[in-house]
Each structure stands twice: as C-alpha cells, then as structure tokens.
Amino acid sequence: MKYLHLIWASLFRRKTRTILTLVSIVAAFLLFGLLDAVRTSFAEAGQSANGAQRLQTGSRLSFIQALPQSLQARMEQVPGVKTVTYANWFGGAYQDPHNQVFSFAVAPNYLDLYPEMSVSDAERKAFADTRTGLLVGEGLMRRFNWKVGDRIPMQSTIFPDRSGSKNWVFDISGVIHSTDKKAAGFFDQMMLLHWTYFDDTTPYNRGQVGWYVTRVTDVNQADRVAKAIDALSANSDHETKTMTEQAATANWMKQIADIGLIVTSIMGAVFFTLMLLSGNTMMQAVRERTSELAVLKTIGFSSTSVLAMVLAESVLLLVLGGVIGIGLAEPLIPLISKGSNGMLALPPVGLGSWALGLSLMLGIGVLVGALPAWSAMRLNIVDALARR
C-alpha cells in the first residue's frame, strides 16, 4: 500500500497514453455493464420468490389454445393449491397497431396472486365496480399521458367485438405501482381489464380462459401440485401443461434467443482486443521506464517488488477504467429502458455483474501485466543503465 503513490505516479507518467488507454477500457467495461444487464434480464426473468410460488397452467397443445373456465373449480380442489386465477391475452394496442401494450383480461382475484403489483384500495374498488375499468401500470400511464378517470380507446390486435370492430373503449380506474424493483419494467407497462367484459364483448372467446395461475401453499410441493393439476384433464381434449412461473419464463426466453451465447461471443471479442491494447500500453510503459526501473533496483528495491509494482500498475489501470465503465453503465441503463418504451426492461447493474466485472478487471490486469512485469524483474541493472 505504501507504494501506491509511486505506482500512481508511474501510471500517469505519460498522461495522454494512459488516458487514451483508459477510455478504451472504459468503453469495454461500459459495454460489459450494458450487455450483462441484458443477459441478466433474460436469465433472471421470473426468477423471483413470488414467481416460485406461482404455477402457470396452459394448454398442452399450444399457448394459443384456450382452456375451459370450468377447470378453475376443479383446480381449487387439488390439495396444496391456495388460490387459482386466470387471464386471457388481449393483444391491446393504443392508436397504432405498432404501439402494442401488455394487456391481459383477468379474473377478479388476479391481483391477489401478484403482490408485485400494488393498487390502492379505493382504486381497486373503483376497478371492481366499473365494467369497462382498466388498471394501468405507472410507466404506461406516463408513456401515453393518461390520467385516472380517462376514457380511452384501445384496439385489440386479436379480438373484434360483436359488430366486428376491433376498437374497444375503457375507463382507467387505477394505477398499478410496482413493488418489485427488479421486475418493475414489466409490471410498469402492464394493463389489466375485466375478463367478464372481455368475454361478453367478443364473440370469439366463448367463456374460455387463456391460462390459469395457481398459488401453492408450499413451494416445495410445487412439482407435485403441477402434476396433480395436469392429471385433472389428462386424456381429455384440453390437456394442460403446468410449470412454475420460473420454468415457464425461462423456456419462453430461450425460444426468443440464446442471449447468453450472443453476449458471451461479443464480450469475448471485446476483451480479446482490450487485452492486446492494454498489453501494448504496459509494454510501452515499461520499455520507456527501463532506466528508472534500474535506478529503483539500484537503490535497493528487490526484483520481486519491481515485479509486483508493474503488475499493480496494470491492475490499477484496468480497475480504474473498468469501475468508471460499469459506473457509466449504471445511469445509462434506466435511460435505455425508458427509451425503448418498455420493450427492453433492463435491471440495474447487480452485485453479480459487479463481481464478474471486477474479477475480469483483475484477471485481465494480471494477464497483460505479466509479460512486462517479468521483463522488469529480470532487468539487469548494468545493462539497463548503460541502455544496452
């Protein structure tokens, strides 16, 4: 530690070079911070404690196939089931079919199963009392400048009403506040409408349910409960497939893209070039300091401490740039989430990303410092001072 000042001074001996190198390192770790957030948002989707308590039951045939509503009563009889609710995909869009919104037509008790969404008691009552009521996520309210009490037209990209029109009218009864910071991006953009209004208005649903959500009394019993639910409709024409919310979401994300592989290959390319670049800087730094290092050795610094100092210098360079880079990613991530209109809801840089980032900084620092440090250690004082 007492050499920190010396290491710092040698690092900034050539300001331009060090700063230019630092910017490159900052860029690399900024990218790392952003991409790792994308990777985590895919990997951790649905992996919350609340998600573990919920089971999703859909048609075994396909996710577009609906299930009979009568299943609810039978599912509630399964031992280990606490509450059962259901929802339908509404496929809502505002003004333009491209302005798609996560919109579900839900059963009255839907909110009971999602403690992640909080709605004030008054607004919840207003929603229950309004046939055409809507509960809208905070972010979505802001996105379209809506207020509670507004009457808004929505298009359904899937369901026409009885006259064949796809334009629906709703009254906003309340706002959904997200209580789970990590999943806020999703619940923030959510829109919930009454299943009964939906079912009455469109001739195409005929009392069917898109999927059921079940809350289990004991998480450890989830697998058994899932099997018991599927057994209810085995060999019928509407067989079900029940999974925990975690498994269902993970499966879904995997079908969209193998994000992990893409992120890993990009970061591989980035860090490979970064190693070359910072390695070159360290080589230059040591080469031009040859005589200074020789002087250090002459006045009594051991070879190993010279080795340690050069290594420390390269690690310091990487850590400095890396911390700034990931630090820059922190404020950028909410901006990106905002800019994408909820399409991309990125979690903030987590502890895991910081830990992985720091170990990368240390690892790359040691790796690129190794060769110059080795040659600094092996430096022969007489040769170095004589510039041979």
């Binding site: 331009t16 070079r17 230019l20 190198t21 910017v23 490159s24 390192i25 860029a27 690399a28 900024l30 990218l31 952003l34 991409l35 048609s59 075994r60 045939l61 396909s62 996710f63 577009i64 196939q65 496929g91 079919p97 491209h98 298009q155 990209t157 899937i158 026409p160 064949g164 796809k166 195409y204 060999n235 019928s236 024409d237 067989e239 497939k241 499966n251 995997k254 079908q255 969209i256 893209a257 290959s265 990009i266 390319a269 980035v270 490979f272 070039t273 970064l274 070359l276 670049l277 070159n280 800087t281 080589m283 230059q284 399409m343």
Partner: protein, 435 residues
C-alpha cells in the same frame, strides 16, 4: 478553437462518409490516387507515407493494436448486421409480388385473423385470381395455429412452439416453391404431417415414419419439405383435421391466392373492397412478410450498431494511442522534413494514409473472419407475427461487408487525424530538440 474546428471537420466528414455509396467511395479513391501521382504535394505525401509504412514491421505490436482492435469492431458489427440481413431475407423470400394474402380486416398477423366459411368462398371467387387447368381458382385457405413439440437440444421436457399450418390441395399450386425432399405428402383426412426442413432441425422426432404427440393426439410424420424461406420452419397438415383438433369448424385464418396478372394486385384489392359482404384486408405476400420482419430487423440492427459504436470508441482510442506513439517516435524525422521545406499537408496525408491502411487491414480481417464463421450460421427466434420458432441463417452480404469496411476506415481516419495534425503543427525547433 483549433481543436473545435478539427472536431467539427471530423463530424462533417463522418456524416458524409456514412451516407456515401461504394461507387462514390471508388471515385474518391481514384481522385486521391491521381492527386498522389500527379502533383508535387502528392509525391511528397507518398514518399513520407512510404517511409512510415516501411517501418511498420518494427512496430508490429503496436500496429497490431490498430488492426486487431478494428477487426474486433468490424467482426461484431458484420455478424450482427448479417443476422438482421438473414432474418429479413428469410421472411422477404417467403413473399412474392404475384401472390396475395387475405386476412380479416384490421388483423396484424395470420394467427390473429379469422375468416368464416362464407368469406373464404367469396374471396376465392373474387376477380383477378389465376385459375388452374380445370378452371378452379388458385386460392389456398389455410389455418395457422401453434403446437408445442419437444426441442431437439432440450434438457428434460423442454418444449418449443412450432407454427402449424392446415392446408388443402390448392396450396401446391399457390406455393410452387414448396417441394417434398423426403418421404411423401400427407394423406388428406388422416393425422399425418409434413414438416419443414427448418422445423425438423429444431424439434425432436420430426423424421418421416415417426410419430409425435400434439396435445393428446398422435400424429405420423409423412415427409419433409423444403422451400428456402420462412415456411420451412412450419409443419403442415390437412386443414380439416387441424380444424377438428383446434375446434375451428369451417373457419380459416387466411386465404393466399395466386394473381392472374403479376401486376394485378391493386385491381384484386379493389375487387375485394367492392364486395360489401367481406371485411378483409389484403396485401401482397411480399408486403406482408417484409412488414413482419421490419420490427425485429430494426432491433437487431440497432443492437449491432450500438454495440459496434461502443467498441469503435475503444478501438479508436487504441488507434490514437498507437499513432501518437508512432508520431512521437518519428518527431525528429518529421521536423527535419518540415525544416527542409515540406509543407504540413503531405505529412498529415502520409500519417492518415498509414493509419487508414492499418484500419482497412483490420476491416478486411474482421469481415473475413465474420464471413468464415457466421455466413450460413443457423439461428432461430420466435418471429414477430408468427407463433413458432423461425429458423434462419446469418447472411454476410457484400453490402454488410462494405458497411464494416466503412466503419473501419472511419475509425482509422479519426485515429490518425489528431496525431497527424499534432505532427504537422508541432514547432519545428521543439521537435528537433526532442531526444
């Protein structure tokens, strides 16, 4: 002030450069070569550049920083753009100008559309549809639904979604690009499937002669078809059998028709609109599939450009670093040149040329690597507007490679410009006194 002007110049040059088509770039290169060959300043620039380039070998390590750094940027950029390109191309190829897709009014996609039996019959009778030898209209009414099937590389009972299309006998005339490559067509009325080549690669058990379970029913795979487009990611079966399983009765999702006249779409659309009993929306299949690919293509491209841009910043500063060091090492030579009467311009040009040559090498290397590794690389995603996994191949096109090279040269330009200007403007006396 000078730095500010320089940055302004960079911004203007980059803006123009991005918009530049390759023909213009070629003209620019030719003009530059002519300037070098014909004018005195050009000759001088060439000789200074020659010296710089001949010493590249001694600075292998630091020159490699530029080449590899830029190769990394270009490689990643080209791979991402090739993904967008491959995706868009697969969907675009699915459509054509002379076939039209008719959906229920205001439907965004085939899956969410629905046409009752009467509408299907009326659509087929609309004027402008080509007819076969027997005088029947070439109109294929199809059901589009999804089915879950076990994935090939799955752990446990992981299932994926595949788009299932219920078809009639007319489909073969309407979609002549679809050919059976293995096995045979399904027998109408039976629970038999034919599977696309792409679907067969994604899902387990899609082999002719094998059986698969869709929901609670057992189906036999009769054959494999190829079409070279997005249809390959689907599985097909008899529309009536599919309708029974999905409780769709006699309704269908869409009607695809072959137009009698390749340019007859506006007339066909007008004829549909004139029928008061129909509430439909028609587009050429080319239009429909291009529209489906738009959003996703944009997203992939945007990700590629953002990632590329951040990497480019890193590579640019790496190049700046190397070139500042190179200029510093040659400070005395350059000062000597200027002392004996060389103007600043040839010096600037020479250093820019050297950096951009290294950058071009990096661009070519990165593009070549991306082409070797990723051209034809199989990828898949849940496609927008469909309900199944779409398999597609990354396609490294000439346009994508040119884009990569442009980026490389732009990075080289900025990386060389500032060191070059410093070399050309450093007071000669100071530079000569440097060690």
């Amino acid at each position: 002030m000078k730095t500010f002007l320089l940055i302004l110049l960079v911004a203007v040059v980059l803006g123009a450069w991005i918009a530049l088509p390759w023909q213009a770039a070629l003209v620019l290169a030719a003009l530059f070569a002519a300037w070098m060959a014909a004018t005195r300043a050009g000759h001088r620039a060439a000789s200074v550049a020659g010296v710089g380039i001949s010493t590249l070998g001694q600075r292998l390590g630091s020159s490699a920083v530029i080449v590899v750094g830029i190769a990394g940027v270009v490689g990643v950029l080209v791979a991402m753009l090739a993904m967008a390109e491959g995706y868009a191309e697969t969907l675009r190829k699915t459509g054509s100008e002379d076939t039209a897709l008719v959906l229920r009014g205001a439907s965004a996609a085939e899956v969410t559309s629905g046409l009752d039996h009467d509408s299907v019959v009326q659509i087929a009778q609309t004027a402008g549809i080509a007819r076969d030898a027997k005088g029947e209209p070439l109109a294929s009414a199809e059901l589009v639904v999804a089915a879950n099937l076990p994935l090939k590389d799955a752990t446990g009972d992981d299932e994926g979604s595949v788009q299932l299309r219920g078809i009639g006998a007319e489909v073969w005339a309407v979609r002549p690009q679809v050919k059976i490559v293995d096995g045979r067509r399904f027998t109408p009325g039976l629970r038999e499937l034919i599977v696309g080549r792409g679907a067969a690669k994604q899902f387990a058990g899609l082999v002719p002669g094998h059986t698969v379970r869709l929901g609670s029913q057992t189906w036999t795979v009769a054959g494999v078809f190829a079409s070279g487009d997005a249809l390959e990611s689907e599985i097909w079966a008899d529309a009536n059998v599919v309708a029974e399983m999905y409780e769709r009765g006699s309704s269908r999702n869409s009607v695809t028709v072959r137009l009698a006249d390749p340019k007859g779409f506006p007339a066909f659309k007008a004829a549909l609109g004139a029928n008061p009993q129909l509430k439909t929306e028609a587009s050429t299949t080319l239009d429909y599939f291009s529209r489906q690919s738009e959003g996703t293509t944009k997203v992939i491209r945007a990700i590629g450009i953002v990632v590329g841009a951040i990497m480019a910043i890193g590579a640019m500063f790496g190049a700046l670093n190397t070139m500042f060091a190179a200029v510093a090492a040659r400070a005395r030579e350059i000062a000597t040149l200027r002392a004996i009467g060389f103007a600043g311009l040839p010096v600037v040009v020479a250093i820019l040329l050297e950096t951009m040559l290294l950058a071009a090498a990096g661009g070519v290397l990165g593009g070549a690597l991306a082409w070797l590794v990723f051209n034809g690389y199989a990828a898949s995603t849940m496609a927008a507007g469909s309900v199944g996994k779409l398999s597609f191949e990354l396609h490294v096109t000439a346009g994508v490679l040119w884009q990569g090279l442009k980026w490389a040269l732009a990075i080289g330009f900025i990386g060389g410009l500032f060191p070059a200007v410093r070399a050309a403007t450093m007071p000669v006396t100071t530079a000569l006194r440097e060690l």
